[in-house]
Amino acid sequence: MNQTPQPNSFRSGPDEDGRFGIFGGRFVAETLMPLILDLQGEWEKAKTDAAFQKELADLGAHYIGRPSPLYFAERLTAYLGGAKIYFKREELNHTGSHKINNCIGQILLAKRMGKTRIIAETGAGQHGVASATVAARFGFPCVVYMGATDVERQAPNVFRMKLLGAEVRPVTAGNGTLKDAMNEALRDWVTNVDDTYYLIGTAAGPHPYPEMVRDFQAVIGTEAREQILEAEGRLPDVVIAAVGGGSNAIGIFHPFLDDQGVKIVGVEAGGRGLQGEEHCASITAGSPGVLHGNRTYLLQDHDGQILEGHSISAGLDYPGIGPEHSWLHSIGRVEYVPIMDQEALDAFQVLTRLEGIIPALEPSHALAEVIKRAPKMGKDEIILMNLSGRGDKDIFTVGKILGMEL
């Protein structure tokens, strides 16, 4: 970027009001304000509580399966003929994605706060499944709000949530996707303030959620940084992740933010192209606004009405982005680029065939960016990509598009 004065550290945000520069904050109804202040207080205490941290680490190791491996994708690297490609294999976690890292952390907080009921919103269903899983593990009733469109296109996950004992409530407002599910979860929370814990699934929402979710997901980057140093004796040249609300991306980015030589790239859903409204590239094609408790880049019209957006991947189908990403974009530390539906689909197939890994459609967007960049880089250069989830949930969607008989 140009003349923007750079901070001493990119890792010190947010300030005490939850601001990352002009982004973030606490734009919520008065009813919820005391609740998020309570949560913030509890989170501050938990951060420095050794017993909490130990329980988190134990569950990480024995329930989630951490640390997740760092994998050198040898055949993909040879195929692309450029930079060495490493995957941080979050798709091997229990429940199949990075979402569980955050859910374990938040359910421990809910328990500490004496809450007795869990609500969550979900897009792809990965966060819904992870929430239903930790609710089962800790014995909480759980209600998951999911857009009706997503209920249809992520059917396997709906079934998993139900098996785990969660109640899935389809939301028909709007386009029936993640934004509408989040509105409905907020309405539930405003109504059930005494007993309910709102387990937000991404690094968005009012303060302290963006910071808290980031900190629970930063285990991804912390591990990956150590693992790559061990494998290669140096840091990667580029770190790449897909951005929906932004939790897997901020999780892998954050520990690298102060490593000046590391280029960081966030991949937004370009959908069917940025010309119209059928995409979810909030940063590339949106503008700052206020939604779901924070100021951030949004897809909106000239009157400040939020647009629905579109992505082939339910987990990226959200017209906003976590506020820390908006800040990292505004100061030029992270570059955000769009990847189209078709490019993600192609990348999905490449990885499946070359490495025997079926990725979720969300990280397939990050993979498409890797496929673009790697051939232009030297063989001694390194790309680290967050493989945030596995594609079992997407096989029906992909099969349908490819015209395969199921």
């Binding site: 904050g25 304000m33 405003v190 503008s287 400040g304 009405q305």
Partner: protein, 279 residues
């Protein structure tokens, strides 16, 4: 702060009855019809008008107001058209206070300074912005007060005594007590709980305390009005409008008249409120 608001509450105090505050959505189902609804409200007995600004993602509203917002947006309503509505109304009524109510994003995108200037010239007396708690006062509340527009804050059952002073600090015009934790359009809470809460708030402020959420009938208005300085009715009016529309969502032959009838009934409720209280 604005003379219209202060004069109105002073007159009601002299009259010895609570205010009837009526909410409707600007542009629902279309600009002209909603202007006619607005013009009919004072004559039917509304003392203060809450003018809803439609928003695509009304996180604190129930289905009735959500759908009203969607109808308005579909009919082409924008924030500038909602300001235009107030301006047109003011041509024939310079006494009834108007409070604009909605969410922050359309105002933020319009531009805070420009919005406040345009609101003043449209004759707006106050603002209620659901997603701007006191922690966010620098955004709109302080600039509004500086320009002489009331910033009316919501107090809720979760607003405890520790928090009330912060909530009341930059509040002006009146305090809007949301009588339950929940979204608009829910059931009426127990009036005795409401009067306790109103008295608690009155211990902290001299401003009128008005109560909303769940008031649907003249009886409700009477019961809630016994303790409060004003009774807010929203979802019931919006639902009345919805029920009067044609199959394809256009204004029906008696859309305006049916709102008037409902408001006239509610007005008898607030007028009977203190009689009961005195019994």
């Amino acid at each position: 702060m604005t003379a219209r608001m202060d004069n109105r509450f002073a007159a009601l105090k002299a009259e010895g009855r609570p205010a009837l505050i009526t909410y409707f959505m600007g542009g629902d189902p279309d600009f002209e019809t909603s202007l006619n609804i607005m013009k009919a409200l004072p004559e039917a007995g509304a003392d203060v008008i809450e003018l809803g600004m439609p928003f695509s993602d009304p996180m604190a509203d129930g289905p009735a107001i959500q759908m009203a917002g969607q109808r308005a947006l579909k009919g082409g309503q924008t924030l500038s058209k909602t300001l235009e509505l107030a301006k047109k109304f003011r041509e024939g009524d310079n006494e009834t206070p108007i409070v604009m109510m909605g969410y922050y994003n359309p105002i933020y995108v319009y531009g805070v300074e420009k919005f406040l200037d345009d609101a003043i010239s449209a004759g707006i007396d106050g603002l209620i912005v659901v997603d701007l708690p006191p922690e966010m006062d620098d955004e709109l509340c302080i600039p509004a007060l500086a320009k002489g527009i009331n910033f009316i804050r919501l107090a809720t059952p979760t607003t405890d005594d520790k928090r009330l002073p912060a909530v009341l600090k930059n509040t002006s015009g009146f305090v809007y007590y949301v009588s339950m934790n929940g979204i608009t359009g829910s059931a009426l809470p127990d009036p005795s709980l409401v009067s306790g809460a109103v008295n608690r708030i009155k211990g902290h402020t001299k401003l009128p305390v008005c109560v909303g959420f769940g008031v649907k009938t003249a009886d409700h208005a009477r019961a809630i009005g016994a303790a409060a300085d004003g009774v807010v009715v929203g979802s019931a009016i919006v639902a009345q409008i919805a029920g009067s529309l044609t199959k394809d969502g256009a204004a029906g032959p008696d859309t305006v008249a049916s709102v008037s009838t409902l408001v006239r009934g509610l007005a008898t409720g607030v007028r009977a409120a203190r009689l009961v209280a005195a019994e």
